[in-house]
């Protein structure tokens, strides 16, 4: 049994099973991944890295497609 991973989503700690993607962590925490050009909250649509709706900033790097990135301990994810 793999131990859970704890990462920070918008400053709050979130614990997820190992092998969970960042997109899942954000959605499960009830947050939107990004805000659209006209101010709408958005979450993942395609789940396979082609729609770009799941983009978040990970460890300071913007525009990361979170549905294709696995959660790592201590990761800092920001959706603002």
């Amino acid at each position: 049994m793999l131990s859970p991973v704890t990462l920070m989503v918008n400053g709050s700690p979130v614990a997820v099973p190992a092998g969970t993607t960042v997109a899942v962590a954000v959605v499960a925490a009830g947050q939107a991944c990004r805000t659209s050009v006209s101010g709408e909250p958005r979450g993942p649509l395609c789940g396979m890295g082609t729609c770009f709706e799941c983009r978040v900033a990970i460890n300071g790097k913007p525009h990361c497609r979170s549905c294709q990135i696995l959660c790592e301990p201590g990761m800092e994810v920001r959706t603002d």
């Binding site: 997820v16 099973p17 190992a18 092998g19 969970t20 993607t21 997109a23 899942v24 962590a25 959605v27 499960a28 009830g30 939107a32 991944c33 659209s36 050009v37 006209s38 709408e40 909250p41 958005r42 979450g43 993942p44 649509l45 395609c46 789940g47 396979m48 890295g49 082609t50 729609c51 770009f52 709706e53 983009r55 525009h63 549905c67 294709q68 696995l70």
Partner: protein, 419 residues
């Protein structure tokens, strides 16, 4: 995978590139919730044994010259040189816009399934599954397995089409798992009490910050259903960007191939969904034919023609059964956003007579998805023809586009192979 295995087992040096962290694509996606089907595990094992070089988390974005492909990894960029190329770029879901479709927790059917496989909790959640295609049933089954409650499955195809579909499955002892799955699931759905409606489609999604309910059209009436997620996809669209970039001839959105899966570009073959949406079994046999053909084993490849023929019948049935009905063109309201990257509403798009004109004047299609979401939608809604592709066929870092400006890649960034 099938192509790589068959080619490698002939003794050819093979490399396989995939933008996911592990091989398997969408159908054979492995996640934290594990559970790749046995068949997938089998092919993966053969791949390893045959010594195929797996290049994961790598995205091909350009072809600067024939036989050279540029691929971007998480932190680096690679030059891939090969003599023969087999394209197996698969397909993605078709999304059609309707009011509220941009709300968080409205996802594709395959999209939600992918999320669930990667750990999204479903226990106790209510999920409406809508759209069209056999994928809906497979997704519903997966969601139920993970504890979701499914108030309704809305399939836009007519009962007549579906009945004919089921009959053909029964009638042609079709390739194992898929056919049986569909039959089995219909029974389970009826027995298990999962309501299934044909002639049914979503009209609107509602909610303030996230999805709270969905209104669907059912039997000519509208019905609003409270739910946590909407898994909505309208069948599949072939990923033909890379074949287009390479100059392959395309017809009706599919890559043209001969009976050995060869495209119109020498030494470039194509297998699976890009040659026409046809399902897993067809992809596997086409992949094998392509792999063998690329390895110069045409005779062995021909032995699989019969199997491919049988699988093709399923594919053509698919096409007919799940054709999109015209009512779906009136789903979006004028203010419904069609281009999600640039937030372009339907009303602005309708002012233009071509994809290019709309792109230039509204920026629809100029966002990071490069028209992968809004392209198929506008093609269906407005009958626009998509434009040609330019590199990068997937967003890539400036430094990746600039790499090798001063000559070929350094040794460690080069991958050379027979295929």
């Amino acid at each position: 995978m099938a192509a790589a295995v068959r080619a490698a087992e002939c003794g050819v040096r093979v490399g396989i590139v995939d933008d996911n962290a592990s091989l398997g694509g969408q159908i054979w996606r492995s996640g934290s919730e594990g559970g790749q089907p046995k068949e997938a595990v089998g092919w993966a094992e053969r791949l390893r044994t045959a010594g195929v070089t797996a290049l994961c988390s790598m995205r091909i974005f350009d072809q600067p010259e024939a036989t050279v492909l540029l691929a971007e990894g998480t932190d680096d960029v690679h030059e891939l040189r090969c003599e023969n190329l087999v394209l197996a770029t698969g397909a993605r879901e078709r999304f059609l816009p309707f009011p509220g479709w941009t709300l968080p927790n409205v996802m594709g059917a395959g999209g939600l399934q992918a999320m669930v496989k990667c750990g999204l909790p479903m226990r106790g959640k209510r999920v409406v599954v809508a759209g069209t295609g056999p994928l809906l049933l497979a997704v519903a089954a997966c969601l139920r397995q993970h504890g979701a409650e499914i108030p309704l499955i809305c399939e836009q195809a007519s009962w007549g089409n579906l009945a004919r579909f089921s009959l053909s499955l029964l009638g042609q002892s079709l390739l194992g798992p898929y056919g049986k799955l569909i039959q089995g699931l219909r029974l389970t759905a009826e027995l298990g009490g999962t309501p299934f409606a044909a002639n049914s489609w979503p009209l609107a999604a509602h909610g303030r910050q996230t999805l709270e309910s969905v209104t669907v059209s059912r039997g000519g009436k509208s019905e609003t259903i409270r739910c946590d997620y909407l898994a909505c996809g309208f069948h599949l669209v072939s990923n033909i960007e890379l074949p287009l970039l390479l100059g392959c001839q395309i017809q009706n959105g599919c890559v043209q191939v001969d009976d050995l899966q060869r495209t119109t570009v020498p030494k470039v073959l194509c297998a699976g969904e890009p040659t026409g949406i046809g399902g897993v079994e067809l992809s596997i046999v086409e992949g094998q034919i392509a792999g063998l053909a690329a390895a110069g084993r045409a005779t062995e490849a021909r032995k699989l023609f019969g199997e491919r023929e049988r699988a093709r019948r399923f594919a053509s049935i698919l096409d007919r059964t799940f054709r999109l009905r015209p009512e779906l063109t009136s789903l979006p309201a004028p203010e419904t956003i069609v281009c999600r990257c640039e937030d372009v509403p339907y009303s602005r798009l309708r002012q233009h007579t071509s994809w290019r004109a709309a792109k230039l004047h509204t920026r629809c299609g100029m966002g990071p998805c490069q028209g992968r979401v809004c392209g198929p939608a506008t093609q269906f809604l407005l009958k626009w023809n998509p434009a040609s592709v330019r590199p990068p066929i997937f967003p890539a870092r400036v430094e990746s586009l600039a790499a090798f400006a001063d000559g070929p890649a350094p040794e460690h960034n080069q991958v050379t192979g027979g295929i």
